[in-house]
Assembly symmetry: C2
């Protein structure tokens, strides 16, 4: 075992010494993904894609419970559509991929690959919405989007990524803004109950908001290096796109009004969040709800003892029957190799069965989150594994939550901020609200305003962390992915 | 009712008089889809997309039962990749959309939007496959693809469409060819058990095969005008892409060999097949397995009789509890309007409940496929609806199957073929195997070879339908979408 362990540790970089390399190693060696042939593109390998499928299913049912229906809109959008909303085009134009030709023929109009779909959906909504009876309209699509990025990293930032984008329209501003807030709650529920991720949620600053929104709300997850990952955003769009695309309805009072809109999205970035927030020196630690394999059965010495193989398959069959996503690893390889293989892949529970266990009528269960080993009667193995699924969800959440709490530092001035950031922390700070201070912080420390703090009580009794003038807001600053 | 009926019939074109317009009317008025802003693109509206989601779920579980795993590959492919397989580029180059710029910057290499993914997946397989232990490799992706078409029609032919594409690699030619044949069986099982569609399956001619394949197998569905719709294809690719992308493995015998491949796909075209094969003068008739709404409860006179509303909701709740995708139509509109609304949308069963029914303790069930009405005790309504789901699947299948059988005509010469085609039939013909005859038939009658007949016994005892020389094959010719 010791030998195997050492060999294994060498397979991926040391998480404490080189977090960046550790991340890349885990992505590639756990076979979550690979690099695509075009720079900045990536391939979702089956193990990585299965995480996305599980996450999709969980998110989709929550959206549907919220009255949202799925649809699908064209990926190709006339470049002229982007131009109609001034801030939107400014934000997205530099990174849109443009289709100019089909075969040898030049197109009469330039088309862009959707970086997001407010414009093309706005165009359809103007056609579909005529009366207050058509509202609210709440549609979502699961789709690929393209944003050309200079620096890319698997899952976190790639030219093409997969996401869902919800687009809603309402008769009043209040309903639309509420939708953005409610979906932020749905997102943080998904983070908690599906990904075991405690998150920081709140409004974003003007500088950090979505290009074309009136207000953006964000969900930020803390990674193990104390940097923030924007894990989901919801936007209150006001009448901005309704005016650009003429989305009007005849209200009950007989007058024509512009609809108010919201939009919201989460993406395959969340897989990056899972890797970085939960991973450890041995690789992935996957939350059971999204784990493609929730339990792996490893027979020990089955080649010498046929009964071990038979009993292992029985355990596997029972797990499957109980609805556990189980694997039986019957490969002709050493137990140590198999342990490492499945630990790297973050499988929540390993079930070991050897000849002596069999005689004693027991199996050994090993939790990936804590490393804890327990011996249980063979009869109760399935029930215990099922129970462990919840316990591991809670354990991973609690562990990430403690980490978060230990890495938020209150800072009163720039020196404290600098030290806190370099120590791998979020900064809990007060800010005057002046964009110049935001810019100064970014230039000096490469940190940005993430979200406003949920508790703004007495913020104006404090001083701005940057300029020292009277503060207006309590807000989190952090370095971010 | 009579009035409503007449009004309704006027909403969509007469299926017998103008099948093409009828199709467009059904697509738009049943709110399955809409036209996108860019010519040739379409929007999947929620009702149409829900059919696709149901079909996806059914197909996906059958693929997984076949040992196939899902993955996701980049949409953007270097144009140079297409060039590597001579026939492939010839077939696809004229219709590929090309990305040349990002923002204002010209890309150093032209990228195409995938028309299909053999090339980009071949590139990855060459990286992942090293030994016979890595085979077979069976991956599938659910994705959007782009093929620029001059003439487009909703679902049938659009610049962008949704599909699944399976890509497999094996150590031997036999296994790869078998995979293509097995997946053709899976497809026809899906057609039968999910879409209630009887199909014609078999090998395609050299002229009709996929660009880059050694052999293509097709599944053809007959539409109500006697034209064929290619509803799915599977391809045996031989070593063609393995040679182009250097997919080699070290075999057990210690030598390096090229892998043998297959690929297979079905698309949102199948929604078009459902519409055209099952639809009637009143609109859609949806197979229950894919119907977004399987049963609609329509209270009659609920505004005057509160008990009707309450009892209707109870029936609705029971249907939902029994796993039926049910709707309760409580809108303040006339029953006739509602009947038409849901008939146009093809909902398999309508449950009507009025005051008199309530007193008698019964409900009226109306089957969309046959129009048959039945009165059943309220207590057994749910069970009857559940049973009807299977009966309607069988009924739709049987009805389409009779239609198919009545519209296959054996033809011995060109005059007979011409008459059969004009009469809205498939031609069961003998053919010498010479491509010139295929071309002549296409030029004269706009019909193409669809698939070889399953029974080739004694084909050489017949004469070619076109040139009159000794025949080699029994084959279906038809006009096609």
């Amino acid at each position: 075992m010791a030998d195997n362990k050492d060999k294994f540790v060498n397979q991926i970089a040391d998480i404490d010494a080189d977090y960046t390399q550790w991340y890349t190693d885990v992505c590639l060696k756990a076979e979550l993904c690979d690099y695509g042939p075009v720079k900045g593109t990536m391939v979702f390998r089956p193990y990585g894609y299965a995480i996305w499928e599980n996450l999709q299913a969980e998110a989709d049912k929550r959206f549907k419970a919220h009255g949202v229906k799925n649809a699908y809109f064209p990926m190709l959008i006339p470049l002229s559509f982007l131009m109609r909303e001034a801030e939107h085009v400014e934000g997205f134009a530099p990174e849109v991929a443009t289709v100019t030709h089909v075969g040898e023929t030049e197109l009469s109009e330039k088309l862009v690959l959707r970086p997001t779909s407010e414009t093309v959906i706005g165009n359809m909504y103007s056609k579909w919405i005529g009366s207050y009876r058509d509202l609210p309209l709440k549609l979502n699509q699961w789709a690929n989007v393209v944003r050309w990025e200079k620096t890319t990293r698997p899952f976190l930032r790639t030219s093409e990524f997969l996401w869902q984008e919800g687009h809603t329209a309402f008769a009043t501003a209040e309903e639309a803004n509420n939708d953005a807030l409610e979906m932020l709650d749905v997102y943080s529920e998904i983070a908690r109950d599906v990904l075991a991720l405690p998150v920081f949620t709140g409004k974003k600053t003007e500088r950090e908001k979505f290009a074309g929104a009136v207000a953006t709300y964000g969900m930020e997850a803390m990674m193990r290096d104390g940097k923030s990952l924007q894990a989901g955003t919801t936007h209150y769009l006001g009448e901005n796109f309704a005016k650009a695309f003429d989305i009007k309805f005849l209200d009950k009072d007989g007058t024509h009004k512009y609809a108010y809109q919201a939009s919201w999205g989460i993406s395959t970035r969340l897989i990056g969040a899972i890797i970085m927030a939960h991973g450890d020196s041995r690789g992935l630690r996957l939350p059971p709800v999204v784990a493609p394999v929730q339990a792996v059965v490893v027979p020990i010495g089955a080649t010498k003892n046929e009964k071990v193989g038979v009993a292992s398959r029985e355990i596997y069959d029972k797990l499957i029957a109980a609805g556990v996503r189980a694997e039986l690893d019957e490969r002709d390889l050493s137990p140590g190799f198999k342990f490492n293989h499945w630990e790297l892949r973050g499988v929540p529970v390993r079930v070991e069965l050897g000849g002596r266990d069999l005689e004693a009528g027991v199996v050994t269960l090993c939790r990936r989150d804590t490393g804890e080993k327990m011996t249980v009667a063979m009869d109760s193995a399935t029930d215990t594994v099922v129970k462990l699924m919840d316990e591991i969800m809670n354990g991973l959440y609690a562990s990430a939550d403690s980490f978060n709490k230990a890495h938020v530092v209150e800072v009163k001035n720039m020196d404290e901020m600098s030290a806190a950031l370099d120590g791998g922390n979020f900064c809990d700070a007060y800010w005057c609200g002046d964009e110049n201070c935001e810019v100064e912080i970014k230039q000096k420390y490469a940190a940005t305003a993430r979200v406003f703090h949920a508790d703004q009580t007495g913020a104006d009794k404090h001083k701005c962390v940057c300029c020292g003038k009277k503060a207006k807001h309590r807000i989190y600053f952090a370095r971010a992915y």
